[in-house]
């Protein structure tokens, strides 16, 4: 394949639509994911409205029937996890950052990279069409437990469910190809001098996330094939009347499901680690142990899945081993959290909007991690399983990476991506509103959950013991609406800065990693000359330099190099 010579002028189509440039592909993923975030956000609004004011006319939509409510709940989960979180955290940041941070011209397989976006685009089209198909979209929860999801008459959803499965299968194929690309690029195309332990942490975490996804999605692809055959060909994999096993799907789903939440979390951790280190002007505390902890957590994430099934027919004897592995996996993450906090010790912190979002993400994750211990303990899970306590828990852990983590990333790398600075005051307003309304939505949700309110019920007022929760639910809905509205500060800031933002220089934040050594936005081949790397990415406030930063590719002046040499030999 003759790779395009760098100066061959590409037409609009080749350079903007069907482009093999990893930066363009990253922006394509980002824009498609932001569209889906809008869709996911509107499903959240309708769900919250129906719960707070059951069977009333939701402004802008109207009455939400029970089956429509189930479809909204399913779509909210599917869109947010697979069509917002994964594209932004894995595909957009991974595609944009990995080649730039390792000093490569592009991904190892540029055309495969473009192909994986367009497979994701087709998956999005398939999911959108599944909404308008007779019988409506899938309505069996984002987990799609059979037999409810395996037979049309149980939910009245016909092709909507089949297309939902197809959309997921395509999305998995897209991210499988993406993962192969990320790993091959990082293994083979690092700049000279860039050894494995001089890689920025966000690259390490992107790679671990890619490996976890690659090795965990298999059984769910098999499960999706089996479920699709159950629905179309009439096989009975998950139908007990035909000798099938409904619990088999839950095992296959959660064998993928739990590693999946770490696939979402790790890129978020990587981003906030980068941002915190830059704005504290201080090296990441325990860089290498964090990487080992991430890899250990990656392996452990494969042996914890059944803590989702304590009360769903799992053999009671299995609950204890899985609660032990669930406890063990909280150790590496606690280590990473404490190390991030230790990075702040004796730092010199500037509270820019990326930094605020990273600190917010950390604070939110600590709360989410701690509520996880309630869910991990089998007896407590007997009571709180499938209640809003679980919903509140996973929104804390997911929001920390997906919402706060990716906003930190967007505010931090916007200058490099688009060549313009974002407005700081709008960023700070957006942060504080999002942080306050996020907590006012999800802290009360813990209480609603403890009172026993079950998940995915359209009308809590049909239950005597839930009636006293009406004011709380209304408060949550109001805060959720305000949380959604406060996102407009980001949308305005994003599009305004695209056009009228102050022109960004090469290194606005004075950071060390390689992507800040090239222009903003970087040219087609990223680097005029392939950089050579002399040190790790976090040499801030290093004794070797007067300023408080020392880029990876800057050779040390001779005397200092000599001093450094015998010091470290």
């Amino acid at each position: 394949m003759s790779s395009e010579t760098s100066h061959a002028p590409l037409g609009f189509w080749r350079s903007h639509v069907f482009s093999t440039d990893h930066k363009v592909i990253a922006k394509q993923y980002l824009s498609l994911a932001l569209f889906w975030a809008l869709m996911g956000g509107s499903t959240a609004y309708l769900i919250r409205w129906q719960i707070a004011y059951p069977d009333s006319e939701a402004p802008g939509w109207g009455y939400v029937a029970p089956d429509v409510f189930n479809a909204l709940v399913t779509m909210h989960g599917t869109i947010m996890v697979f069509f917002v979180a994964m594209p932004i955290l894995l595909a957009a940041f991974g595609n944009f950052l990995i080649p730039l941070m390792i000093g490569a011209k592009d991904m190892a397989f540029p055309r495969l990279n473009m192909l994986s976006f367009w497979i994701f685009f087709v998956a999005s089209v398939v999911l959108v069409t599944s909404i308008f198909v007779p019988g409506g979209p899938a309505a069996a929860g984002w987990t799609g437990y059979p037999p409810l999801s395996a037979k049309m008459e149980y939910t009245g959803v016909g092709w909507g469910m089949n297309l939902w499965l197809l959309a997921l299968a395509l999305e998995f194929a897209s991210f499988l190809l993406g993962g192969v690309n990320f790993l091959t690029t990082a293994m083979n195309m690092r700049a000279p001098g860039l050894t494995w332990f001089r890689l920025p942490v966000v690259v390490w975490m992107q790679l671990t996330a890619a490996v976890i996804f690659l090795l965990s999605v298999g059984p769910l692809i098999a499960g999706a094939v089996m479920l699709l055959m159950d629905r179309i060909v009439g096989t009975t994999f998950f139908l007990p009347e035909g000798g099938g096993e409904p619990l088999l799907w839950q095992h296959l789903f959660w064998f993928f499901g739990h590693p999946e939440v770490y696939v979402l979390l790790l890129p978020g951790f990587g981003i906030i680690l980068e941002v915190i280190s830059v704005f504290s002007r201080k090296p990441v505390f325990a860089y290498r142990p964090i990487i080992y902890a991430t890899i250990v957590a990656g392996f452990l994430s494969f042996v914890v899945w059944a803590h989702h099934q304590y009360v769903s027919g799992l053999d009671p004897r299995l609950a204890m081993p899985f609660s032990i592995t669930t406890i063990i996996i909280s150790v590496p993450f606690a280590f990473v959290i404490f190390s991030i906090i230790a990075t702040l010790w004796r730092a010199s912190i500037t509270f820019s909007s990326p930094m605020l979002f990273s600190l917010g993400s950390l604070g939110v994750f600590i709360f989410g991690g701690l509520t996880g211990i309630f869910n991990g303990s089998p007896p407590v899970d007997i009571y709180i399983h499938d209640t809003y306590f679980v919903v509140a828990h996973f929104h804390y852990t997911l929001f920390s990476a997906v919402f706060f983590g990716s906003f930190a990333g967007i505010y931090f790398w916007f200058p490099k991506m688009f060549g313009r600075m974002m407005n700081e005051t709008l960023g700070k307003i957006h942060f504080w509103l999002t942080f306050i309304f996020f907590n006012s939505v999800f802290i009360p949700m813990h209480l609603v959950g403890l009172r026993g309110m079950m998940r995915r019920i359209a009308n809590p007022m049909q239950y005597e013991f839930l009636k006293p929760l009406e004011p709380l639910n209304q408060f949550i809905t109001l805060s959720a609406i305000l949380l959604l509205l406060s996102q407009f500060f980001f949308v305005i800031n994003f599009f305004m800065s695209l056009v009228r933002g102050k022109a960004a220089e090469r290194n606005p934040w004075q950071a060390n990693t390689l992507e800040w050594t090239t222009d903003s936005p970087p040219p087609h081949e990223n680097f005029s000359t392939t950089p050579t790397v002399y040190r790790g990415p976090y040499e801030y406030s290093s004794p070797d330099a007067e300023e408080d930063w020392l880029p990876q590719d800057r050779p040390l002046s001779a005397p200092r190099a000599a001093a450094r040499q015998e010091e470290s030999s």
Binding site: M187, L215, S216, G218, P219, E245, L247, L248, H251, F255, F302, V303, A306, G313, L314, D315, P316, R317, L318
Partner: protein, 90 residues
């Protein structure tokens, strides 16, 4: 075509075919349990023959070994974790 290569591959091919016949014979002669054990042992040997010789895994770097063994380990963990729910029916 260098003879050493092709002769080696032909030898492996003959071994594979022979092993197929062994497992077929085992299925019809040996009692149930022994037959099963032998059949799947033969299957593993055949897989190793293909992986080591045809896929040249024996002269690859360790990373490639890991790429095969780690997913296999996870699949085996999944298999044994499913036993209590579906085989012993708790």
């Amino acid at each position: 075509m260098s003879d050493s290569h092709s002769r080696h591959y032909l030898m492996i091919w003959i071994w594979l075919l022979a092993l197929v016949l062994v497992s077929v014979a085992a299925a019809s002669i040996l009692p149930k349990v022994q037959a099963l054990v032998l059949i799947f042992a033969v299957a593993i040997v055949k897989a190793l023959l293909v992986v080591r010789n045809y896929m040249h895994l024996k002269n690859e770097r360790a990373i490639i070994y890991a790429l095969v063994l780690v997913p296999l380990a996870f699949v085996i963990i999944l298999l044994f974790a499913l036993f209590p729910d579906f085989v012993y029916r708790g």
